[in-house]
Symmetry: C2
DNA sequence: CTGAAAGCGCTTACAG
DNA sequence: CTGAAAGCGCTTACAG
């Protein structure tokens, strides 16, 4: 037995397919009685409208696509959760294409989503305005997450890395650590660059006499370890170290422990991201938390707004705040 | 300018739409020259076949749906990665609906996917055969992940929790810990039940004289802590403790430390899952690892097989192995 | 090899 | 309120 179609329901309820269609879509334009009879017939036949037929005629898929890079565990799942919850609340489906690391892969993914989605959510450090122009019809609503793209044509939703980093540096300074060093993230990474700027801005503003002290890193634990050793080898050891992400902070912590230093008594430490591990290292790691679920949720809601109001020009870049999480490693309680 | 349709391409290439269709689908039934002319016309017009129209006529969506519960970070992202990679390799799209905790929610999600997917991947501790019969057409291929369902009608792919737990218990016994206690997971949880059985089986087989010693837990860190205290209060303290998951092992470790016990010298400890935190607690936690990416990949590939060969009766339950990860906490090196 | 035509399952003006 | 009919963009027998 093949699935029932609108024709079957029409026959069963002894009405035209037009009436069935109306009844199934809210019932306006049909009497309550007719509608009820149709509903019952539909139930009897286990009728479910064919999605593709509907998409074809309405030009609406009720689906949004999410294009994501090869993301690390926690971040990925939180982001999807936020997007998924918001999508479900609005009756939208979610087509996911993740684990992309190359631009070509991303282009293929975006093209293959063509016609299957009403809008697109894109998180990618490498996608720029040129890529979007080349691979997407300008009619497709797009929301960019954590992107450096600055174009009136695309909506952008960013995490306020700058403010988060700045706030943490300020916190460290206020806790009495005069010299705060920074372990940078990978070059070309948008988040890393903004955290770097936040560090510099806070130092310039709140500790104009202290040196800007930046050592390189690449977001890996290993690079944090190397950075830690490098910092310890400096003539004037910093009082506090702010790593551009938690994994580097964890690596750095290992280096400090190996050198026999006590954290935070001898040297303070802070990271960025608030990954689960931050709570389990000892001392527990102070860090900056991003509400990733909210990031996903906001992104989807902004996109949904674009779908409902296509004429509305995309909002200028929006920003989502971070919050400082004070634990043991930054030595705030010792002041 | 609306998107180009097959008609536009036909006109541009001066052929019928039938020929365009053939050319776009591999080109069999058209001369190479005609095909080339059509391709060029299509490129000029930036033609992309309308997905919905194609679905409607071919009855194929080239999409698979994934229904997932409210999963914890790492597991979720790894699973999706495995599914996504395998799907992309086969040119399949991935429609995700996650974060379900109720059966009603799951039912609604599954129904709304109807007609949008060619097959379904379902991970859920609560979905049973009755649910599937009630909410899915029996023609839709389904692969169940980590499920207790035993029905010839559905394919099932499980993690070999039993073998993994059993192997860890055996390892602890071989390392010289005569009395191994077990911290159980939540009642009704499929993984937890299998790990429990694995513990019992290994004890019965390899340490028939030692007592089966099980204390309750619910997979939370907090419950692990309580279990740890409970174990310490026993008349005969166990030599080793095997927790049904890592989070409980971490909680248990805290209880041991508070009591002034050294792990593994005074008491050994092991968990299950190999979450990232396992590497960062001290001592580092021995555990059982599940290759989650492989779980996702295998599931998708099995489902894809079902799609290509619908007549083939679903394979009987398959199982994916685990591996023991020996770190400091189980005291294996001290034997 | 190529094309005209039917049809996939729906929605929506257009009449009545 | 209700129905007949056109049409969304494609694929695929069926002829030629």
């Amino acid at each position: 037995m093949a699935a029932a179609t609108i024709k079957d329901v029409a026959r069963e309820a002894k009405v035209s397919v037009a009436s069935v269609s109306r009844a199934m879509n809210g019932g306006s334009g049909v009497t309550a009685e007719t509608s009820l009879r149709i509903q019952q017939a539909a139930d009897r036949l286990h009728y479910i409208p064919h999605a593709a037929a509907r998409m074809l005629i309405t030009r609406r898929t009720n689906t949004i696509g999410a294009l994501l890079p090869d993301l690390y565990g926690e971040f990925f799942s939180e982001l999807i959760r936020g997007i998924d919850l918001a999508a479900r609340a609005r009756g939208l489906h979610l087509l996911v294409s993740s684990s992309h690391d190359g631009l070509d892969e991303a282009a293929a993914a975006v093209r293959s989503m063509q016609g299957r989605v009403d809008g697109l959510l894109i998180l990618s450090g490498r996608v720029d305005a040129a890529f979007l122009r080349a691979n997407l019809p300008k009619t497709l609503p797009v929301v960019l997450l954590n992107s450096a793209v600055k174009s009136a044509a695309y909506s952008v939703l960013n995490v306020d890395n700058h403010a988060g980093a700045s706030a943490m540096v300020r916190h460290l300074l206020k806790a009495g650590h005069a010299n705060v060093a920074f372990i940078a993230g990978p070059e070309g990474n948008f988040d890393a660059a903004q955290r770097d700027k936040g560090y510099r801005a806070a130092m310039t503003r709140y500790a104009p006499d202290a040196p800007i002290n930046i050592v390189p890193g690449d977001f890996s634990e290993e690079s944090g370890y190397r950075a830690g050793r490098e910092l310890l080898a400096q003539k004037h050891r910093p009082d506090a170290v702010f790593a551009a992400n938690d994994m580097m902070a964890v690596g750095c912590l290992t280096a400090f422990k190996e050198a026999g230093l006590r954290v935070p008594q001898d040297i303070a430490l802070a990271g960025f991201d608030d990954i689960p591990i931050a709570r389990y290292v000892s001392p527990t790691l102070s860090t900056v938390r991003v509400r990733i679920v909210d990031l996903g949720r906001h992104a989807l809601e902004h996109l949904a707004g674009l779908l409902e109001n296509p004429d509305q020009s995309p909002a200028t870049a929006q920003t989502l705040g971070c919050e400082i999480v004070v634990r043991e490693s930054c030595g705030a309680s010792t002041t």
